[in-house]
């Protein structure tokens, strides 16, 4: 029981980091995907390079670069901020790829119809393609959010007080041993299962409103 209490202490921080990083990623992913699909060659190459570089370097290395490496004058990130910024940037790159897939899943006829009706490219994108692409992207977005919930555990390496941080602490000081790690694993499962169920219901209702 005492071990369970110790591990549960980390749950709010894990949720905070996950929600914050997913929100940052979902918003920043939009300009990135616009960049990935831009007509301008330079914009496209830069966006592609950015997305590939962010995804190509392990998350823990990004957190270390941001936490230990970045110091602008007297300014340094505290560990929670560093984790949110790092995981947020990584999410943005993943979300951009998810959105790209969503956009290409919307029927070409929707673009053509917009064009035929004299709606300009940006309005077509914002009002016709975007909402439908978003609905197609929801399953991938939620499964990414679930994997980010688990990836947020790496924030413990820079001292963020989330689930694994308290788990390790408890294992070392109270001889929690195997039990406390199994408890931590069970808590991650318990957090991700309701998310997965919610995602499935959401997807079923959104899927009906997409033209393909």
């Amino acid at each position: 029981m005492q071990h369970l209490q110790a591990v549960l202490l980390g749950v709010p921080m894990t949720l905070l980091i996950t929600v914050a990083a997913v929100s940052i990623g979902a918003v920043l992913g939009v300009p990135l995907v616009v960049g990935l699909r831009a007509k301008n060659f330079v914009v496209r190459i830069v966006s592609r390079g950015l997305v590939d570089l962010i995804r190509g370097i392990p998350a823990i290395v990004w957190l270390f670069i941001i936490y230990f490496g970045v110091s602008i004058g007297a300014f340094r990130f505290n560990s929670t901020m560093a984790a949110i910024v790092g995981l947020g940037l990584i999410s943005a790159a993943y979300f951009a790829e998810i959105y790209r897939g969503g956009i290409s899943a919307v029927d070409m006829g929707q673009w053509e119809a917009g064009n035929a009706l004299g709606v300009n490219r940006w309005t077509t994108f914002g009002h016709i393609i975007g909402p439908q692409a978003f609905r197609v992207s929801v399953p991938s977005m939620t499964s990414y959010a679930i994997s980010l919930l688990k990836d947020s555990s790496i924030a413990s390496t820079i001292g963020v007080t989330e689930i694994v941080f308290f788990t390790t602490q408890d294992a070392r000081s109270n001889a929690g041993g195997l039990t406390v790690y199994l408890l931590a694993a069970a808590i991650y499962l318990a957090l991700s299962v309701p998310l997965a169920l919610l995602a499935r219901r959401l997807d079923a209702s959104l899927r009906k409103k997409v033209s393909r």
């Binding site: 190509g56 370097i57 290395v61 270390f64 670069i65 688990k150 555990s153």
Partner: protein
């Protein structure tokens, strides 16, 4: 250019770390993939016990963060009398993660083999075991190949987590150089680039494999 001079000085240590990361990746995949295939076959079996065992292993392996599995193997197991070296703990934890994730990929691959082929085998009197071995698994593996390659890249990235159990791989090397020179940014960026030098071309390979494998589909449309 002091940055370049530093990088040249640090490179041998980081290259050693990178080589260890690659070795951990290789061992995890070599151990994890056959187990994953076994779990995938078990998940599709008629036997209820086999199916349940497979589901439990896969759900734990996929549901728990790799970091927790890693620490469980290294810090948790000694309390029940099993002490592993950090390299063995790293490889076994990542192999378990590999097995859990690849079993889902392989299951999808095996399911994608047209059921008509299995029925044809039955009609021709091929035993279920031979059907699996000579018809379903070879084709299922081919279908699953791009996804498996993509997953291998993720496992290579996940080796950076073994830093937390004192495996002297790439990130550990970079961190220890950082803590002696206080030049964290420069050395961590170099380490990041070394990861990217492997993962980015590898992801291009995945895309080209994907295209190659789906080449025959373009005729149908």
């Amino acid at each position: 250019m002091s940055v370049i001079a530093d990088w040249i000085e640090w490179f041998p240590a980081l290259a050693n770390g990178l080589w260890l990361s690659v070795r951990i990746t290789a061992v995890s995949l070599i151990v994890g993939l056959p187990v994953g295939l076994g779990l995938a076959v078990m998940a599709a079996s008629q036997n209820r016990v086999a199916r349940t065992i497979s589901v439990v292993i896969v759900e734990i392996g996929r549901g728990a963060p790799a970091l927790v599995v890693l620490q469980l193997f290294y810090f948790g197991l000694p309390s029940v009398g099993i002490t592993l070296t950090s390299f063995v703990a790293a490889c076994s934890a990542l192999a378990l993660t590999t097995a859990a994730f690849t079993s889902e990929i392989l299951r999808a691959g095996l399911q994608a083999v047209p059921p008509g082929e299995v029925e044809a085998c039955k009609t021709l009197g091929v035993s279920p075991r031979d059907t699996l071995r000579f018809v379903v698994i070879p084709q299922g593996l081919r279908i699953a190949l791009p996804a498996l390659m993509g997953f291998s890249i993720l496992i290579f990235q996940a080796t950076s987590l073994t830093f937390t159990i004192a495996v002297p791989e790439l990130l550990s090397q970079a961190y220890s150089i950082g803590s002696t020179t206080f030049n964290y940014l420069s050395v961590l960026v170099l380490a990041g680039l070394l990861y990217a030098v492997i993962t980015i071309p590898a992801s291009w390979l995945v895309v080209s494999t994907e295209k190659r494998m789906s080449r025959h589909l373009s005729y149908a449309r």
